[in-house]
Subunit: 61 residues, 7 copies
């Protein structure tokens, strides 16, 4: 019963995720989109942020 | 209701975006173009700047 | 009697693995998924973490 | 009315551009050529320089 | 009488190899698997370790 | 009247070039070959050197 | 009369080469194999070493 990484992202759409980046920072927001490179769209009440996937270390739904 | 990262860029054309780069700097300008590598074209009243996508950490429309 | 790296990952699904990352940290959890880039899904009792494969140094099942 | 990054480069042929590189330096010259990797050819009165695209941060026409 | 790098790996299956990594460390073990990216499977009496190929500097059979 | 970067390399075959590398050093020699990755072959009276293209910052014919 | 980089490697098979790596070290040995990524096989009287091509700065036959 394996979960592919992108399937876990798909299942996390609309929920809050914590994204750890290679620069040591974290970004928190609702995952509103992603693509196969792990480019991400995070949203909160006020802002939308696109994160380029090659900066991502980990994503915790 | 997912938003692909490139669709968010498409929807941001003509609006101001804040681009964070891997060197720790930020660039602000109107997004006047992009491509699938996240190469970007930013414009302000006086200048146009092409940013090579592999430098991008995040884009905030 | 060779074992391909991805076959070893496949055989490790559902078992605990120790993942060493390029930032010098380790992540421990049950391997609940992976893909051909070595993107990984680790789970423990409470959390699921997606690790982007390009951060991985080694995986010890 | 979007401008693709490579279209902006195409429109900049024959004009002076300022190229910021990842090593923190800048190169100035007339853009006399480019390709899809953003490899660039810069010229001034005396010299021609080929810049490998993966060093480029930004190009300001 | 050329030896392709991957052919040397193939011929080294089941023998001890010393793997130098980009972080300056070495890993020693029996090579029990590899793939075309030089992802490796090393084994000793107790453990199996998958090494992601992009960390590898050299392999000495 | 655009000059593609690889066309400039082609036109520079047999002439002296100065190659700046990412490690901050320069290599000088007659360009006796190249390929589409900007892997280069430099020659002087005594030696031939192959430079892997991903190390190259710039080439001045 | 151009020499492609890989053709120079082919012509160097069986001869001693000096390989400069990105970590600042050099490896010397008889070139007994290579592939299109510039993965190399170096041999001396006692040892064989596979070098992953992305570590290579230059090769001097």
């Amino acid at each position: 019963m394996s979960e592919k990484p992108l399937d876990v992202l798909e299942a996390s759409l609309g929920t809050e995720v914590i994204v750890a980046l290679k620069d040591g920072t974290e970004r928190v927001g609702e995952l509103s989109g992603y693509d196969q490179h792990m480019n991400l769209v995070l949203a909160d009440d006020q802002d939308t942020t696109i994160i380029r996937g090659d900066n991502v270390v980990s994503i915790r739904p």
